[in-house]
Symmetry: C2
Subunit: 151 residues, 2 copies
Amino acid sequence: MQDYNFLSAELKRVLKEKKLKYTLQREVVLRALFSHTGHHSPEELLQLIREGYPEVNIGIATLYRTLALFEEAGLAESISFGKDGKRYEIGHKHHHDHLVCIECNKIIEFHDEVIERRQLEVVREFNFKMLNHTMNIIGICSECQKKSKEK
Amino acid sequence: MQDYNFLSAELKRVLKEKKLKYTLQREVVLRALFSHTGHHSPEELLQLIREGYPEVNIGIATLYRTLALFEEAGLAESISFGKDGKRYEIGHKHHHDHLVCIECNKIIEFHDEVIERRQLEVVREFNFKMLNHTMNIIGICSECQKKSKEK
DNA sequence: GTGCTTGCAAATGGTTTGCATAAGG
DNA sequence: CCTTATGCAAACCATTTGCAAGCAC
């Protein structure tokens, strides 16, 4: 998943499978997600694309449509908490959870096997078919804690 | 927390502490949350209040303001996933997580000590100050799985 | 009385949609 | 060609806000 070529091939595979078309816009959105790790809002991504690929014309509606498509295809993942809409990041092999700092809005990712395994057990117990899961821990990161002490 | 009187007293305590006023609207919102267990959207709650307490006049803006206040005070909790806004429920002693069925929109609550403890460890590891956390497992509940088999 | 509250309506802001045009297959 | 995509602007919808009037204290 480190390799952009792999992602691009994956995009083409998905599009073919769904009988959708390979377009410059879709390519560029994927490229933007790939080259800017982190969690971006659609607006931010639009900005990044317009800066990085000024020759490509893309509207916000197309971006939204593309992000929804990517998420469904597993090429991207979204996180949303409270208002302020969703943020997207490139799809990962491993599921991960988030620590969200309410002061600086930083998002720290973590992956914990104990939690993952336990989730599977819970799901089995309820005879529930898990399609996805999200875990967000809201709080204050260590840096912001320091900052507020300094005040 | 089973007792409404306790909740009502808690509301009054919170209001006094914050130098806010005790109003009929706030009382009625709490009452509605208490008497209708489950996860309700603000619109639904407004409906429930207008049906259950037709003598009380309340606007949607007040409801939103009240729900935000309650959440901050721990009297209510919210869950939000994807679009379709937040849903509120009365505050619980024990934190719990959710299994959300994408077919019938049912929300099943569960509490798992293994996961809770592990979260604390993760948080400590990152030197993160946890204020809240949410875990939602999205999928299809056992009943909806049966239904789709029948088709 | 003073200041918090409320209802109403208007504003907001993220996201979606309708539609005519453009372009992939 | 036929079908899916796109950009634009308008539409949506949950939520927030400004404000004058209404209450709690």
